[in-house]
């Protein structure tokens, strides 16, 4: 018998009822994360039926997507500018109270982007099943959890039963050999992976990132990798837990303590895929050959090494449409392209190490005239840590705009937008048309590249300033 993959093990441990040809599996959900945008309709369903949240203790709520990032609005000295957003935030406050769900509300020091705070609290743990009405739930796979995004109807299913009906996805090994050079980040690696397998390459699969280059990554870097699994179309992304994982988790508020820690750690040690486990698909990537990456089009698969030229494709209407939207031409070099806005933040790159990377570039330098550099920490805890470490002072001295935590310009539904026709170098995860506001043109890159471009006032290879 061949061995099991990590995914197989986590799946098997959560099967309440196995799948049959006629019915999907009933999968138990250990942790349900919710936020203000995708939960209201699910709470409304519960109310209409007169049901409770079945396991409120397995449910955590935060507000991040529509929350403002300006301190004045944030602390309600001023009203939230976007009226409907304010209603949505209040609705979550009421729903959480009515259904007994723990909420990290607007003024809570532990509030932040849902995928940043759950790991930070130690609530995200190896071997768990974790869902959220948000596609970037894949982030939590960095801990060896099976974590995936669901729609609002499924949020209602989890509320009512703590379970989901699921067909078992297939497995896909992403083997990354070698090592990343010092100026090439986890963000560059995941962009290169997406460029390689394509934006629908992972459809129907759970990716497992493996190999020495992955082992060498910190937890925050692993989260950056797993976060963007959905950008390859994958159901989820996972990385085997190891000493790095345990060291990150130990002592966090929601992590097991004392004897329970030892029990948990020994259980977690059995999670990694067996040596002889077979994957349905695989791809090999050599980390040594990678350079900083940047996107040029309107999906994350339209990506190239920063020194490269936009490919020339004949008879490709999608490519032509993307370049027309971006105002670029096939054959153009990305270096030197104009930049109006630089956004450093999001659940992809809004954690402490990302801010440290940005600070390394920005220290003692000034943001170019005419460029708006917006730096938004992923959580209030990240914000506080960055202020204590002096990073916020470096940012402000450079001329950056330093805000309260939230999704901010990652999706532009909270008042933070790039502006029509303007160019943004962004550390977020999606360069879709209008993602950062109507008409916004987004170039996805690492915090190094983003910060270097803010200084230069144009797209800049970070290796020239590091």
């Amino acid at each position: 018998m061949t061995g099991q993959t990590m995914f197989d093990k986590v799946w098997a441990a959560h099967e309440v009822v196995a799948e049959t040809p006629d019915t999907p599996a009933i999968l138990y959900i250990d942790l349900h994360l919710i936020h203000e945008v995708t939960s209201p309709q699910a709470f409304a369903m519960l109310k209409a039926q007169g049901w409770k949240v079945r396991r409120p203790e397995r449910t955590l709520a935060t507000m991040d997507h529509s929350t403002p990032t300006r301190s004045e609005e944030f602390f309600r000295d001023l009203p939230i500018k976007v009226d409907a957003a304010s209603r949505q935030v209040q609705q979550l406050e009421r729903n959480s109270q009515e259904f007994g769900v723990e909420l990290f509300g607007l003024r809570d020091a532990r509030r932040g982007i849902v995928h940043v705070i759950s790991p930070e609290l130690g609530a995200t743990q190896p071997g768990m099943t974790i869902v959220c009405g948000d596609s970037h739930t894949s982030t939590h796979g960095a801990f060896g959890a099976l974590a995936f995004g669901i729609g609002s109807t499924e949020v209602g299913h989890v509320f009512a039963t703590q379970c989901l009906l699921q067909r078992k996805p297939r497995t896909f090994a992403v083997n990354v050999t070698g090592h990343l050079s010092a100026t090439v980040t986890a963000k560059d690696l995941i962009l290169a992976i997406i460029g390689r397998i394509g934006v629908s390459g992972g459809t129907g699969h759970v990716l497992e990132y493996r190999g020495e280059a992955i082992r060498a990554l910190s937890m925050e870097e692993r989260m950056t990798i797993c976060n963007m699994s959905i950008e390859a179309g994958a159901r989820a992304g996972m990385i085997a837990p190891d000493e790095t994982t345990f060291a990150y988790l130990q002592g966090r508020p929601r992590a097991p303590k004392g004897a329970a820690w030892n029990d948990a750690a020994s259980r977690w040690q059995s999670l990694p895929s067996d040596r002889d486990a077979a994957f349905d698909r695989s791809v090999d990537i050599d980390a040594c050959t990678l350079t900083p990456m940047i996107t040029y089009g309107t999906n994350p698969g339209m990506v190239l090494p920063i020194g490269g030229a936009i490919p020339i494709r004949t008879d490709d209407a999608v490519h032509d449409k993307a370049l027309a939207y971006m105002g670029f031409h096939a054959g153009d070099s990305m270096l030197g392209k104009p930049v109006d806005v630089v956004f450093i933040g999001s659940c992809t790159n809004g954690r402490m190490e990302d801010l440290e990377a940005a600070a390394r570039v920005l220290k003692g330098r000034k943001v170019a005239r005419g460029v708006h550099l917006l730096i938004v920490p992923g959580s209030q805890q990240v914000k506080q840590a960055a202020e204590e470490a002096g990073l916020a002072d470096i940012f402000k001295a450079a001329g950056a705009d330093w805000r309260e935590s939230g999704c901010s310009m990652c999706l532009g539904m909270n008042g933070d937008t790039v502006g029509a026709g303007k160019y943004s170098v962004s550390t977020s995860n999606r360069n879709f048309e209008g993602r950062q506001g109507v008409g916004a043109r987004t170039l996805l890159a690492s915090p190094y590249t983003a910060a270097a471009s803010a200084i230069a006032g144009k797209v800049c290879d970070p290796r020239t300033v590091l």
Binding site: Q41, G149, T161
Partner: protein
Amino acid sequence: MQPITHIRSSTVLLPNSNIDTDQIIPARFLTVTTKVGLGKSLFADWRYLKDGTANPEFVLNQPAAQGSQILVAGDNFGCGSSREHAPWALLDYGIRAVISTSLADIFCNNSLKNGLLPVIVDVPTHRWLLAHPGAMVEIDLRALRLTLPDGTHTSFPLEAFARHCLLQGQDELSFLRSKLADIELYESCRH
């Protein structure tokens, strides 16, 4: 939910691949707390000009597209954000089925839960549909069959349980709730 057995309609085409849910409904329309009325925001940034009037170039605004219930889209339709507002907006607008060579996983799940039918076809059929905008086609959910105007047909796959629920007009949650005893047993064995 109303049971679905057949959908017969002319098609409307959006041939680009990788149309993401931010295009289907941009984030600024997600501040709602209900599902109703999202149809007016469907493809908002393509459908309306800056001044808010209809963009005559966009396919949904063309006379031939009016009343069409079947959208033929490029590969990997519905990728990106998990927002269920995307199928809600399509349904509210009047689209009842999406035909493509592939759909993004979460979008496909969300569609099935709301009675928006995902129809995955082979490349030649897809190509034929793209070459014949407005073709009158019929989707038979019982037989899992798509019939083209000349009477030729092709079968399409659909997850068995989702198909059963759509045919019966049954909610998946009622099935899940019927298994609460199993769920309790699982919980008690684990803890």
